[in-house]
């Protein structure tokens, strides 16, 4: 295709609204344009990238045996009321009324619709297992849409839903989806990690997130230096150290005038922060809970919510904390609390000896407290965030590191949550009704485009992985309007390359070479070939890979070999890099 035939509105300046590199470069390269907050138009170049992603996703889903369908964007409220999510989902669910004042929503996800379809169409164990997927526009009314495609309101998802007679069948499909995702993101040339994730309140046993590794990622992901353990922050754990073995000292109250912080307390008392039990008051639907953590640990609220089996937790205000404990903030402690206040400790807290804590009176702390001798041993769970350097929970040899990731995929065992709520059962082999077990599997198709850019760019622009590039090869015809020879040779090379199966963008614009090179670098095609009077005179092509800094003069045979190697090799290189990082 000639550049004069495709609308590529590049920008010289970085748009002020764009913080992330991917947002900046996708706007500057003319891939997307903003219509309104969180709403983007895919321009011709961007849509070519999107279609390439969709194609790889579709091929791998088909290969896994999943069946493609297409469900409506607009969904009736009744189904969401059945599942209980009409109330629960919050303002991200965009609700609307049709002309007859009936309630609908724009689908952010399709569990309800597919479960409704399944209960109408699937009646026998003989129809199971089955796995349906779709690639579709979805809507989530983000409170602050930002980062371009990364967190838009309207976006494109691949979502799949599988149905099974039992958990063993779900496990097989779950693994097959996990494998399909591994193949998909590998083919897309992304450096990614699959990490264990928490299933949350919804039930089901297993869940994995797929993250593209990038410094700009919104999520922290945890991985082991030695084995292949990887998890997100809500799921990651590290074994608690062995219980301390110390001679028990005498408990005492110590004046700590105005000293409310852990660090202040450690300094004032001359002890390590790890010897301090700090308290955090949280509320679930206005019911207070007191959480205990080691002074050097941080609370993970989601872990706490799961441990307490509530949907959502929030931190108490100082007033709420004082009302629940009767003690001033900064001096709250586990000894002598109102009996009605439930207490949950992090596992590490249980191993402490001779620890310090607030005395539930102003300007007073305990030192040398010990469980059972001075106060009852509380219930405990994993409440803390792991930190870099923690021991790995799997191999006990490696240590945990923390990196940033962009979530682009999620595989999730739903179990029987929706089947129960919406009455999806089938006849089993013995003719009895059996609840169906479900899994769901998502890929953020439009987000993949942004994530790929976050991982593949330099100061000149995007560097597309071979699988995602809008065109395989860019040809720059230098002063083609003045040189008919250049114009003809460039067009002929374009035609031969397209015939050989490459998609080619021929820059035939009436621009200075510097502008042409800058455009090619900005839009990030993997291969650039320059056609000028000079190279024609030498009977060669001037070639440069997007990542290279020097030109190479190649015969056409050499050029063809270079392209073939570059394109087929791209995925392998990415794959290799990924594996190095996974073990590095």
């Amino acid at each position: 295709m000639r550049a004069s035939q495709i609308f590529i509105p590049t920008l010289k300046e970085t748009p002020a609204e764009a913080e992330l590199v991917s947002h900046q470069l996708l706007l500057r390269g003319g891939f997307i344009r903003r219509l309104a907050s969180g709403l983007y138009t895919w321009m011709p170049l961007g849509l070519r990238v999107l279609r390439r992603i969709e194609r790889v996703v579709r091929e791998e889903m088909d290969r896994s045996g999943a069946q493609e369908v297409l469900m409506p964007v607009v969904q009736p409220a009744e189904l969401w009321q059945e599942s209980g999510r009409w109330e629960k989902y919050g303002p991200e669910l965009l609700r609307l009324k049709d002309r007859h004042q009936r309630d609908f929503c724009l689908g952010p996800t399709h569990e309800e619709v597919i479960t409704d379809l399944a209960r109408r169409e699937i009646h026998s164990y003989r129809q199971l297992p089955v796995n349906f997927y779709q690639i579709q526009t979805k809507f989530r009314d983000e409170i602050r849409p930002r980062f371009g495609l990364m967190r838009g309101r309207e976006f494109i998802m691949k979502d799949a839903y599988s149905f099974h007679m039992d958990h063993a069948s779900l496990e097989i499909t779950y693994q097959s989806m996990y494998d399909a995702y591994q193949r998909t993101f590998t083919r897309l040339g992304l450096d990614f990690r699959a990490v264990e994730a928490d299933n949350g309140a919804i039930g089901g046993k297993r869940s994995h997130e797929f993250h593209v590794l990038a410094d700009s990622g919104e999520d922290a992901i945890v991985s082991c230096s030695h084995c292949d353990y990887a998890a997100n922050m809500e799921k990651a754990s590290s074994p608690a150290p062995a219980a301390e073995q110390e001679a028990l000292l005498e408990a005492a109250q110590v004046a700590t005038p105005g000293i409310r912080s852990v660090n202040g307390q450690a300094k004032h008392l001359g002890i390590a922060t790890s010897k301090i039990v700090k308290t955090v008051l949280v509320l679930a639907e206005d019911k207070p809970y007191l959480l205990l953590l080691r002074g050097d640990d941080s609370l993970n609220l989601i872990k706490a919510a799961h441990a307490l089996q509530v949907d959502e937790l929030r931190m108490a205000t100082p007033e709420e904390a004082e009302a629940a404990t009767g003690a001033p903030v900064g001096f709250i402690g586990p000894k002598n609390l109102p009996e009605s206040l439930p207490v949950l400790a992090d596992l590490r807290v249980l191993g402490l000896c001779n620890f310090s804590s607030g005395a539930n009176m102003a300007d007073l702390h305990w030192i040398n407290l010990n469980w059972e001798r001075d106060l009852p041993r509380p219930d405990a769970a994993d409440l803390r965030e792991v930190t870099a350097g923690d021991a790995c929970p799997h191999c006990q040899q490696g240590i945990l590191g923390i990196r940033r990731g962009i979530e682009v995929g999620h595989v999730f065992q739903l179990g029987q949550t929706y089947s129960e709520k919406m009455g999806l059962s089938v006849l089993d082999e013995s003719g009895r009704d059996a609840l169906v077990t479900m899994g769901c599997y998502g890929i953020g198709v439009s987000r993949v485009a942004a994530a790929a850019v976050e991982q593949h760019f330099d100061d000149r622009g995007i560097i597309w992985p071979a699988a995602l590039t809008p065109f395989d090869v860019g040809i720059v015809a230098i002063h083609a309007r003045k040189s008919p020879e250049v114009a003809a040779a460039a067009q002929a090379l374009h035609d031969r390359l397209e015939k050989a199966g490459y998609s080619v963008l021929l820059d035939d614009r009436d621009e200075r070479p510097g502008v042409q090179f800058a455009t090619m670098d900005l839009i990030g095609l993997p291969h650039r070939v320059v056609v000028s009077d000079k190279v024609l005179a030498q009977n060669v092509w001037e070639y440069r890979a997007r990542r290279a800094t020097e030109n190479t003069l190649l015969s056409e045979t050499e050029l063809m070999a270079q392209l073939a190697a570059g394109l087929s090799g791209a995925a392998d290189q990415e794959q290799q890099k990924h594996q190095e990082q996974a073990h590095g």
Copy 2:
């Protein structure tokens, strides 16, 4: 693909909710399922048909030089307020508010969004002409969604929008789109007609609708028996007969007690209905207009609205008619009306001599009225609906016929309506601001699937045109569970056919042959091959085309030849049939 690997929920009974054949058969064949009123899920088989339609549409759009983009479904109200359509569009525009109480709508069409994009990105004549298209989910909140895909609320459109410096440039792209549509619908194997349509109040000069011919079509389309003139009812016209040349008789009032109808009047007065001028009172935004038509003609309200240059007309109630004319309904006539009441006559009314009409008094009519002698000659326009047998307005040799059509495409010259309202101008060659001229071009992609079925079915099911079929070939393996030879031979044939480039559905289900045949007929694959112990013993395949009534025993070489001829020939046959009908 094996039938056991694809979910095809066929139904034996015709669902009660489905009136149209296409709706019935697409439900029965397991192509679609209803989620809610006007909302359908595309099942695996249906989606394969949809994708084939999309592919042909996309190829022909690309070939025409149009550039594919993808705009958001959710559109900000501000743009619709600028164009004036936020108020005008009526309740079919589904309006909604986001979490910040800002107004949005679900896009039924994208003129506003693309015009906004163009005014941000297009600044110079050098960027024009350009034509953008998308294939996208749209929403129209129909008051009574029905007929399945034919008139759903959520549907898939291909919509294109072109931008030009002047009308001459628009004409070139308009013709190129017209040609692309001809190629598209021909390739899809549809018997269709392009008909002239009216541009309505929106301006612009030309417009054509593309209709699939089917008895169930909602629209009447008019075509000439001799030339290629074809138009929809709003646009179709027929030349008025020459003015009557009669000796003028004396006008007189005649008692017509209780005779309000045209037919009653004709009988009572002993004259032809064509000699009666009937009156129709209409209102536009509560302003009354009196329309005059010959007693044997019918009013077309849309023609009248255009002639009066108003957006919308409605028929007056009897009370409104009496209030506007001061005369009782049934006796209203053009002579002696209030001067403030505007009168518009159909062109045919002007040619009448000695005509009869109401006398604006109860139980009284005039006879032998003549223009100018008895009452002033009114303004006139084409207000009547053409009828079968009318003279052709183009060739003056043929007569008009009326058939039913399903509108599947529309090409439309928008002119400068949106450019003016939304301020889309560019610098012309002399550096002056110039308003941009636009065209728009739609194809009802999902509706094409239904229209194709309306045109291609029999009492056993669908008969897909080759371009639309979900699978090219169906293989029926008879008693495959009992005969390993049949199972193996069917699978091997399946594999060879797929390798030869055909998509194949292999029915390997454990069903009786009758059930297998009925399914194949219902889902409408063009070619069926039966594999049984009997045919294996003869070393042949049992072949039947979907339209045929007898089996043929073929060697594999003959089978391959048959398939090649059938598939490549299908489009040509349809094309030929189309041309025959176009001239028949």
